[in-house]
Symmetry: C2
Subunit: 380 residues, 2 copies
């Protein structure tokens, strides 16, 4: 019978990788689940909620993980925690595989198998396990809500007896999962929304959400658009023209939300100091790439920076600001990933190391790093 253990996260992380809902499903699938007392509190899941769902409560992280075949975390845990685990047990979480490689190697040396959910292959079968999507979606929502809370005007147009309040202009840079949800949320709130992305193919998605795509629509763009190219690199000449258009566009925006992240690399700089200075005092930038240094030149990760009346929100872990939803989705991602690895007959852990999901996410086994994207800091 597979034993699953869940320790508490550190003070900077309100999310948790297990919810009463997933406890029920895992117990039904044959698992014995143990959770550290109080670990779910910041997502408003009490020990009683977990107990009712069928979990046992452990008094310490060590008690929660020492008998476990599988441990669920949100962030990369300490080496001490891994040492408290059984050799060969699986540690599954967002292990931040491209940072602090030495720390990762120390974790690997404990003999625990490490699975990093950020590396999940982006294939249909793995959609329900895609933690980057589930968390980015919420981050995109929260980016707009936080911008609206900071902004000194209303987002929607309002018709009042004393005249009209104009709608705010919101510009979303980078139309991935977070960008799409940011567009949708800003549209919900009645803003005039524009968006851009290096991939011409997303123009249609942007339009379908009621926003306008900002791009130099020359011949090169039109070819790239129809070829549906996900990653086709545009010419340097095109990039220059596009950058000029975007810089001009940013001047008239009230709120800019940047979402450009490249796995394992520092965030690309999209908003220069000069662009910030071209914006009206009172404008807001929300930088969803703050964790990787930021898309804006003046972003201070974890802080609200202010420059000539423009405020730049560099808050980290926006998904963690809606921990109830973020934990629910993340816990479902983990449950969806582990369930196929529970043997239907014996109910024991049976990782299929040849499965492409295991191959993609496994970064350490038997004391060594096994993932070539991670080993040596390669970023593929």
């Amino acid at each position: 019978m597979i034993a699953i253990g869940v320790p508490a996260e550190g003070s900077e992380e309100p999310r948790i990788g297990l919810t009463p809902e997933t406890v029920k499903k895992l117990v039904k699938a044959g698992a014995k689940v143990t959770v550290r007392s109080g670990a779910g509190l910041r997502s408003h899941f009490s020990d009683d909620d977990y107990k009712e769902a069928g979990a046992s409560i452990a008094k310490s992280d060590e008690d929660a993980v020492s008998g476990a075949d599988v441990v669920f975390t949100v962030r990369r845990p300490s080496v001490e925690l891994a040492k408290a685990m059984k050799k060969g047990a699986a540690l599954i979480g967002m292990l931040d595989p491209f940072s602090d490689t030495a720390g990762l190697e120390a974790l690997a040396k404990t003999g625990v198998s490490l699975f990093s959910m950020e590396l999940m292959p982006r294939i249909t079968r793995a959609q329900s396990m895609d933690v980057l999507s589930s968390q980015s979606n919420l981050a995109g929502y929260k980016a707009v809500v936080n911008a609206a809370a900071e902004f000194e005007r209303a987002l929607p147009m309002m018709m009042t007896a004393a005249g009209t309040v104009p709608a705010a202009r919101v510009f979303v840079m980078g139309v991935g999962v977070a960008g799409l949800q940011a567009i949708a949320t800003a549209r919900r709130l009645g803003a005039i929304v524009t968006a851009t992305d290096v991939r011409p193919a997303v123009k249609e998605q942007v339009a379908s959400l009621g926003a306008k795509f900002i791009a130099v629509e020359d011949e090169e763009f039109k070819q790239a658009e129809t070829s549906g190219g996900y990653a086709k690199e545009m010419s340097d000449e095109y990039k220059k023209k596009q950058a000029e258009l975007v810089a001009e566009h940013v001047k008239n925006q009230d709120i800019v939300i940047t979402t450009a992240l490249i796995p394992g690399r520092p965030a690309p700089k999209l908003i220069s100091k000069a662009m910030i200075e071209s914006m009206k005092p009172g404008s807001i930038i929300v930088d969803l790439a703050a964790e990787r240094g930021g898309n804006a030149e003046l972003t201070k990760p974890g802080e609200v920076a202010e420059h000539k009346g423009v405020r730049i929100l560099g808050q980290l872990n926006l998904a963690g600001q809606v921990p109830v939803n973020a934990s629910s989705l993340y816990a479902r991602n983990l449950q969806a990933f582990i369930e196929p690895f529970i043997d239907k007959e014996t109910k024991e852990l049976a990782i299929d190391w040849d499965d492409e999901l295991a191959i993609g996410t496994a970064i350490a086994r038997d004391g060594a790093i096994v993932n070539e994207r991670v080993a040596g800091g390669k970023t593929s």
Copy 2:
């Protein structure tokens, strides 16, 4: 030629009663406008903006008001400011007419004519001058935005690859201008919205915004609903049944927004401690009546109170949190009020003291309180 002066507000008030837009209109109507340097900064109106619109900039409040026939303020100013004004000049603002009567009398004794915009008669002609409506509308918007920012879940239902995020439940108590905008904003954000009010007649308005009206719909209610009674007092028996229904309803809400204010009186208590304790941890109450003591039993005016995991936002001056819009609408309200009192020929101030708008709003003239709702602290 009428001279209009505008001093700076105190540190607690980001709004201002004059905008470059209204400067243009007032100058066109024949006025000379002077504004204290920096007075508009917190609404992002610079001295240059005012100058371009046709105003003069004064270095001190005294310089701004000493030559003025009319002074616009947001809040009740100091006696010193009134003393710097000409005898018989008009001071127009939100003078908080039912508080600190002694302070109001001291202001009256300076010989300045006082007009309190909160007392504007609610007649069709005065709709464009209705500061309570213009500011409440924005407060209702901001209440929902602040609740969404504090709330540890998303408001809209989201369909994701990892399953559904459920919509949040928002309950609006008191369906005036603020309540209606709160309903509209919460609906925009995708919440499941319910509302209640002591006036059965507003049921239809609530329904038209896509929200559900919560009321004991017995015979008495149906009669009150169809009679369109604005202020018909319901029976004690009905009130008791309704209170029980609301208490039961509140248990299952994620966000409650209270907006019940009675001019000149402490806010009615709508949410008892027991009701707060019946709510789930993580729930949010936004108390728009915090300035008058609050609609919830545990509201701390100006603070975020927390009780058993329920947070109660008692922020003051929510309209002042969107000062750009709030100042724009408020300045239009003042301009609409004063323009009819500028003589078309001479361009001099010519208050028609027999006009019902002047009668309604004037609270002091020639050194004495002249409004019977205000004199002696009467509350109408």
